[in-house]
């Protein structure tokens, strides 16, 4: 496995753990009792961790977006599906960060929609990524002869 891929998988794992850690499950299900895992039940820690991971991930996604833009015409169907899900995750994530700033205020209804959409899109992306890998169609761009 390439170093780059490994780092990306680690980053995604960190985002998944810190994200799901926002739900009160790691303590209930003994994860936080495992040696060295107490931090998974520290909401403030996992919350800050999700922010730091998000900053790294967003930089990578920005980079990927710039690289994909010139070949937009050759993006595969499953590629577009995943791009839409990524965009949803990013948009809802940014809204949530915005909402948490001290002077910002989104209404409660919008907050609820943002939260559920973020979680839903993450699950959908996870399942899509797994599915395309299983059927061997994980390429974002159709391979063309010139490149």
């Amino acid at each position: 496995m390439r170093m780059r891929t490994l780092l990306f998988i680690l980053l995604m794992a960190a985002m998944a753990v810190s994200g799901f850690g926002q739900m009160p499950i790691f303590k209930r299900y003994y994860v936080a009792d495992l040696p060295g895992m107490a931090w998974t039940a520290d909401y403030y820690f996992t919350h800050a961790m999700h922010y730091v991971g998000a900053a790294i991930l967003l930089a990578l996604l920005g980079y990927a977006a710039a690289r994909l833009a010139p070949v937009a015409g050759r993006i595969t169907l499953s590629g577009w599906l995943r791009i839409v899900l990524w965009a949803t995750i990013v948009a809802t994530g940014l809204l949530r960060v915005l909402k948490n700033l001290p002077d910002m205020h989104l209404g409660p209804e919008l907050t609820l929609v943002v939260d559920i959409t973020h979680l839903g899109a993450v699950m959908a992306l996870g399942m899509t990524a797994l599915a395309v890998r299983l059927v061997g169609k994980s390429a974002y761009v159709k391979i063309s002869r010139e490149t």
Binding site: Y51, L58, A59, G62, Y63, L94, N100, P102
Partner: protein, 344 residues
């Protein structure tokens, strides 16, 4: 720790506005008739002048009466929960408890005897949710069940809350209280996720929507509390402190709250006496007994701003995608130029 500049600028702005506008604002009605919103659209805050409180408990009674129909009516027996370490929290047979916060008691009066300046003071302190201006309970609620309303009140929607108690864990005062056997979790996976609904003071949202005052404010014979736009309340609190030489709790705590206490005795002294008082009542020593005994009775310690790290990282979160885009574009540009040079 890095300072949270936006909070500071907002706060100093409020303070400035408060001082300039104190006179003018005093004339305006504190609460407009519609939806409990201040006329300026500003968040509402409450001021509690503890020197006036006689500890009669009329506010507690009024709260219980006004909100009784919103109290939980759990279905029993509770669904068995997995894993077994997850315990039910049941207050439905202890509805009468009124000396601490419970799902059936959103306000209680803490009676504290304290020596200060060579005098013994009997301080009565009504305690309930502080309605933080940047509330961790709402910011960290994974479902958006806990939320801050436009009028500054922090509420928990009983039909959305799953009772995971995260709001209580992240609240520096452990305010929200859980009742098992009610709410949405019963319709989902009652054995495996959720454990009821969290309850706390929501500053009487139903009453305020009808243009009424919160029940506890209306019922108080001593006019201990008042409610108004935050800047006005802060100005009043500061004026009261100047006048009486009192002390303030709530303006800065937890990054700012919409509940401001003014006391004739320093809050550190009240906290120390509160702690000792509980111990002296013979509830047993030792940290567990002590903790048990303090449960549902919010402390009075200083509380720093909870989101300083996040506020700092937020800037990185917003600039990161742009930086990534720029780096990607630069790479493309370099590649294009290299191709061009190769061709020519």
């Amino acid at each position: 720790m890095p300072k949270n500049t936006s909070t500071i600028s907002r706060r100093s702005f409020l303070r400035g506005a408060a001082i300039v506008g104190a006179g003018a604002l005093a004339a305006a009605p504190a609460v407009s008739r519609a939806g409990g919103q201040s006329e300026s659209g500003e968040e509402l805050a409450t001021l509690l002048d503890l020197s006036k409180c006689i500890g009669c408990g009329a506010c507690v009674m009024a709260c219980r009466e006004a909100n009784a129909e919103r109290y939980p009516e759990p279905t029993k027996p509770f669904p068995e929960m997995f894993p077994a370490r997850v315990k039910a929290e049941d207050w439905s047979d202890k509805r009468g408890v009124d000396d601490r916060l419970t799902p059936y008691n959103w306000l209680f009066v803490d009676h504290i005897t304290v020596n200060h300046g060579g005098e013994e003071h009997e301080i009565h302190m009504p305690r309930r949710c502080m309605h933080c201006t940047n509330p961790p309970c709402a910011n960290l609620c994974p479902w958006g069940a806990a939320a801050k309303q436009d009028n500054g009140a922090v509420t928990i929607a009983p039909d959305i809350c799953l009772g995971g108690s995260k709001c209580k864990d992240v609240c520096p005062w452990d305010i929200p209280q859980r009742q098992t056997g009610v709410g949405l979790y019963l319709d989902l996976l009652p054995r495996f996720a959720g454990n009821g609904v969290m309850y706390k003071c929501d500053r009487c949202q139903p009453r305020m929507a009808e243009g009424k005052l919160p029940a506890c404010i209306e019922a108080c014979p001593m006019d201990v509390q008042e409610i108004g736009p935050r800047s006005e309340i802060i100005a009043k609190a500061e004026a009261l402190v100047r006048e009486t030489g009192g002390y303030i709790y709530g303006i800065e705590e937890n990054g700012g709250t919409n509940t401001v206490y003014v006391s004739p005795v320093p809050f550190e002294a009240l906290e120390a006496a509160r702690d000792k008082g509980k111990d002296a009542k013979g509830h047993g020593k030792g940290s567990q007994a002590q903790q048990q005994n303090q449960a549902g009775r919010p402390h009075l310690q200083p509380v720093g701003s909870p989101f300083e790290n996040e506020n700092m990282f937020a800037a990185a979160v917003f600039t990161a995608p742009l930086a990534g885009l720029a780096a990607g574009a630069l790479k493309l540009f370099r590649k294009a130029r290299a191709n061009h040079e190769e061709e020519s």
